[in-house]
Subunit: 351 residues, 3 copies
């Protein structure tokens, strides 16, 4: 996508531009290219944890800055596509290390790595017209957390540890579900995408999606409910469901499949719901597979499920896929539905 | 491959067509596009377990039906390419859940997922001209079995469990090999592809291959012997060998490499035998790797080995690869050997 | 790359040609296409262990021979591209089996497999213009070592065993670092690429790189230091660092990124150093991930890190990537820098 050198990218940006790219980057965590959305997400994070808010900014800034230095195409930068993996990586690492300079150094290095990995994965998937989603965040986080176990000099800084263990068959727990579990679980489903929790955080985050796209906000809401419902049928522990931990992957999957990478229709909406259910099955599968190495599933279920559903696109002639470069909000996609959609020429995203 | 909508696909099929697609789907478990073959396989399965026979039909029907609803190309459907992963997934799940409505629901969902995954993997591999084989069955089964460990509400239904454990070095057992072990092992090698056992089941299944292609039947027989022999040299437990569990991956590998995806020649036959030996090594390796997560190897050794041997194709100028869309029986391929084989235009499969 | 049959390849080579291909193959372990380099590497190996030297030759000969029989393109053979994975596979297996005929049979089979896997991986990566590096060695070794755990008949021959275990958080050790640890660690960093140790072995190996390319020798030296330094900061055990086990992946990464697959510049040099640091993080991560299956990390950290840094190439417009077929020594690449580098026409490598 063009060959602007790093020099040109640096000259063209002012601090104001850069700040806008960072906010769009935060917005892209939920696949929303909108600086106001990003600002609301930042507010939502800070309501839950001000430290996470600070590191969210640090991570996005480092990732975007690294991308600039390496000379990535300017419009990917401007759309925030090199920010959001840094946002998530930085927030996630704050849970595992004491909040001191070790964490800061680790976060700077990891956010930089997440930008290289974003470029890597995007190029690897390019010919398939499939977006890399949050795969760079997943890969970077697993890399750094798996490595962390071996880094003895950081042992004093470790605060949380996922003990490697052999996966065993879960049995039903006695705890019963209360109505407020559905309420907290519903809103935590949005907050947990940014690794936060809290009903108010969730409300602000949902609002952030809403200011950019009503269809995506509706898709997110359906996603949170589908995730909660599927987990309830399968028998996930109540605290997991109430904590939104069975919802956040489904939220992202419904946003991606609900009008963003497939043109919205009855058929694609049903397929998106199927995707949400599948994301919960994938969450369970990944929890089992990652148990012996003590790694968290983060947003891998969302990435795996959405890739499965997008790679299938050219065979599923009942659905209309949208090239990642053309994909705007679901509303924008529907407006342009009259044009040819098999075109591989990237459209500029108009705001 | 064409753009027929789901509507057209539904109208064009009558119950008779659909039933034929389902039988061809069952036949494709052994890469045989032939409804009589599929019917014989179904008989073979039922000789071993009538429940497995019922679920084989349910799985193939759900997978084919899902593929129709999603609008996959009609000739892939007609060749049974969207059935066989559902066949295997359904049969496999019957071993892990009590035979009640939970199993039925799980099987319907998993067979539907296997169709989406078949489309996914086929598209991912398309540019490499490599078929996806039973990879969708492997992926779907691992997904659902790994997830099953986490689904507490299904714990009451679990009948068999593969306990996650750390792999340890195997030591030779005292048991010695008897001549009838070779006999049962030989025929079980065919039956175990469909997760069944029994000499009569194996005979009927081999007959099913034979009615479609004599070369493939010979390849299957060589495969079962190569698998048994390699396992004996390496020191697999006798009950594993007699149970055909060291033969079934080699059976499928020899069929795939023995005249189907490479034109049959002395050289490709030797390469196919090498593939069969390699599939036993891969079986051992996968058993080690999957031990800590408690998952079965199913047909993954066949898929991995055959992909290794097919991806190498364009460098191995001593062999003549056949594009998956052109591949008929080995006899058919030899007949058409005079034409240009580097052509990427799909031939219609003539019966 | 051309269609020379195996017959033509065999006729054209004399014993002398074949010997040269084998020596170039050994040289390619460090990405150096030079028979004198390969001879010096062989001397370095033999200084450390004459058995390893013998098996290095056996492995390279088997791999190259298998490649010839299968008919791989003649100039890949002549550049040693089908030798080095056999070299490494053979040496690595000598650590795990008693030095008897079982080991010889295993090595012959594994080296042959490594050639097939080299073709496989090279074709899979071809469209991305990314070299397969030592991935075939990694895959073959993991395959055979993981399988070895299951092969009871080889249990009497097993000499070393990596016990599968759950990874746990490392804590700092009391041991302190002495100046000679840096000296031994520095030179062991080169030797350990060939799975050897010893200061003299390391010196001879470094000399081997130097006779082919001064820039690659400098990159290797920087790599060994970067690996040692990063491991020291992160707190690896002293014996690991002094043994060169934290340096060898960084050595290979710096050679690959330092002027070989990216045109040498200040920017690419810094990127190469970042790659070296990342390779140490990846080493830690892989050690964690492989612990439950009891497999060694071998050169996987080098492969993963370099792939990450190369796949990112088309987005990182600040760096100039070099097509694997064009890549000569860094000096050669700089000389030809005037020509168009996006050209996908392979240059002949001039010596």
């Amino acid at each position: 996508m063009g060959g602007h050198g790093a020099g040109a990218a640096l000259r063209a940006s002012s601090v104001g531009s850069f700040a806008e790219w960072v906010l769009r980057g935060i917005g892209q965590v939920f696949l929303q290219n909108n600086p106001l959305t990003g600002a609301l997400f930042l507010l939502g994070i800070s309501l839950s944890s001000w430290v996470a808010g600070v590191f969210a900014v640090i991570g996005t800034v480092c990732a975007t800055g690294t991308a600039m230095l390496l000379g990535v195409p300017r419009d990917s930068l401007a759309r925030g596509l090199f920010g959001f993996n840094g946002t998530l990586t930085a927030i996630d690492l704050t849970f595992y290390l004491r909040h001191d300079w070790h964490l800061l150094a680790f976060v700077v290095l990891a956010s930089a790595a997440s930008s290289v990995l974003t470029a890597t994965l995007q190029n690897f998937l390019n010919s398939n017209h499939v977006p890399s989603l949050t795969a760079a965040f997943v890969a970077t986080t697993w890399l750094f957390l798996a490595g962390l176990k071996q880094f003895a000099n950081l042992s004093g800084s470790r605060t949380a540890v996922i003990r490697a263990h052999l996966p065993h068959e879960a049995t039903p727990t006695a705890a019963s579900l209360h109505p407020q579990d559905l309420l907290t679980g519903f809103f935590n489903g949005f907050a947990e995408v940014l690794l936060q929790s809290g009903v108010w955080a969730g409300i602000v985050i949902l609002l952030g999606i809403l200011v950019n796209s009503r269809i995506s906000a509706a898709a997110a809401a359906v996603g949170s409910l589908v995730g909660f419902g599927t987990a309830w049928v399968l028998g996930f522990p109540v605290q997991v469901m109430a904590g939104g931990l069975s919802g956040y992957n489904s939220v992202l999957t419904l946003i991606a499949l609900g009008g963003l990478y497939y043109l919205l229709s009855i058929r694609s909406a049903l397929f998106a719901v199927f995707g949400g259910i599948l994301s919960v099955v994938v969450s369970g599968a990944l929890a089992t597979v990652l148990a012996p190495v003590g790694l968290p599933i983060v947003t891998a279920p969302f990435v795996v499920t959405t890739w499965i559903c997008l790679f299938a696109a050219s065979s599923l002639t009942g659905l209309r896929p949208i090239h990642p470069d053309d994909a705007g909000t679901p509303e924008h996609n529907l407006q342009h539905a009259g044009r040819t959609w098999d075109s591989t020429e990237p459209h500029r995203f108009g705001t």
